[in-house]
Amino acid sequence: MAQAAVALDNVSKTLGGRPILNNISFVVEQGDVFGYLGPNGAGKTTTIRVIMGLFPPTSGRALILGKNAGSDDARQRVGFVLEADGLYENMTGYENLDYYSQIYGLSPTAKGRRIDEMLEMAGLGDRAGDKVASYSKGMRQRLALARSMLHDPDLLILDEPTAGLDPTGQLEVRQTVLDLAERGKTVFLSSHNLDEVQRICSRIALIDRGEIKLSAQMDDVRSGETSLEQTYVRLTKGGDR
């Protein structure tokens, strides 16, 4: 049986004496498009930081493809688009990808081809030589997605990848995620957008006040008596934290 792409086992995280995550457990299988839902302040970003090895769990265990989440090996197999895209505005789109391709250790011969492929996929081939400062929000997000896939990772962590995008931009990002899923990549998608999650995710988990309130197959949610929106509102009691 294949190793889980992400496995969180009773993970708790306390920051500044305040519990942020409280014994959360879930498994993301390889090939899943996993939607991670929850209101603002529920603990989504902290969960992502634990998965990315930025925050060590206070207790419990976080594994990425069978390896400790904090290990360099695990991070080598993960691509990410975080809440802030983290692009270098003074550099061109091409230079941003070139920089990360070197950090991920791509060989000089593979690097150029891979960057061109990713720019093509992101629809930025003709703007590759422009500084990122001149890009629209949608272009930046597509470039960040391209950067996340440079090293052909097995797992993609996407934190609100469509936030702030216009409908066309959202559609493009969703299509990219679906294309990745078709190629067998695992996608961990943190989102507020219930419609988006329903369209593209195969499994979901819902977090509120640092606790997992729901973990289910999307098909089961769809076939239930209540809609995802109703379930979300019921389990989170409505709003941001």
């Binding site: 990315m52 930025l54 925050f55 060590p56 360099d72 990410f80 802030a84 895209d85 983290g86 950090i103």
Partner: protein
């Protein structure tokens, strides 16, 4: 090491594209021209005049002035590196933290040590190159404009001073930079770190310059003093490095 070089090259390239880099290079040039050549020419020139008045032969004057010239070179090199660092290159990490590109870098397979080393070198390398070039240029300019006409020949720093300037001062500066980077990473208001260090520069290094020049500290002593300062900074950096964790960096990266 290869990835450290990748970050170093990127940071240097990015720094060269910012207007602030050239503004601060210009500021360092002004400091060199005003403090380095004008003031030092006056101080050392006055010293030469006094020795000549005492009836010393030109060779004896040159020999008597040599330690002072050595101290000048060492302190000027250090001052220029600090000015260029605090007003210029050290701002890059501040930007990377507030724009949160550092967060993305920490999610890559790079270790925290690699990131810290690369960020330190990206500040260290241009400052050392600029500091040494400008300090030697100031010594040459001072000789040409003020000293050679009085003493009849140029006064070059001795071997001990050259060792201090080329080895001990860069060593002091390297540990200063690693300390600065560690503080910038774990303190939320990075601008305060820079401001406090600029204040320290004004309060300690500048008076120290004049004090050392006035005392004419012997060349041998300046090597030992410099190495002792470098060792103290290294110990401080080592102690502080225990506090630098990814979690602490993230929690203090709110811009």
């Amino acid at each position: 090491m290869r990835q450290t070089t990748v970050i170093l090259k990127k940071d240097l390239r990015e720094a060269l594209r910012t207007g602030a880099f050239y503004l601060h290079a210009g500021l360092a040039l002004v400091i060199m021209a005003v403090v380095g050549v004008r003031a030092l020419g006056g101080v050392i020139g006055g010293e030469i005049d006094a020795l000549i008045e005492q009836g010393l032969a030109p060779a004896e004057v040159v020999s008597a002035i040599e330690p002072l010239m050595g101290t000048t070179l060492v302190m000027l090199a250090l001052s220029l590196m600090l000015v260029f660092c605090l007003f210029g290159t050290a701002q890059n990490l501040t930007m990377e933290k507030t724009k949160r590109s550092l967060e993305s870098l920490l999610c890559t397979p790079l270790s925290l040590k690699q990131v810290c080393l690369a960020k330190s070198l990206a500040i260290f390398v241009p400052c050392v190159v600029f500091g040494l070039i400008l300090a030697f240029a100031a010594v040459a300019g001072t000789n040409q404009l003020f000293l050679a006409p009085r003493a009849g020949q140029s006064v070059m720093p001795g071997a001990a001073s050259l060792t201090a300037a080329l080895v001990a001062v860069p060593l002091i500066f390297f540990f200063f930079v690693t300390l600065l980077v560690a503080l910038q990473l774990i303190i939320t208001r990075v601008q305060w770190v820079n401001a406090v260090l600029v204040g320290l520069l004004a309060a300690v290094v500048v008076p120290l310059n004049y004090g050392l020049l006035g005392s004419g500290l012997a060349s041998q002593s300046i090597v030992f003093v410099s190495l002792a300062v470098a060792a103290a900074l290294a110990l401080l950096t080592l102690g502080l490095s225990r506090l630098v964790t990814k979690e602490r960096i993230m929690l203090n990266s709110k811009g």
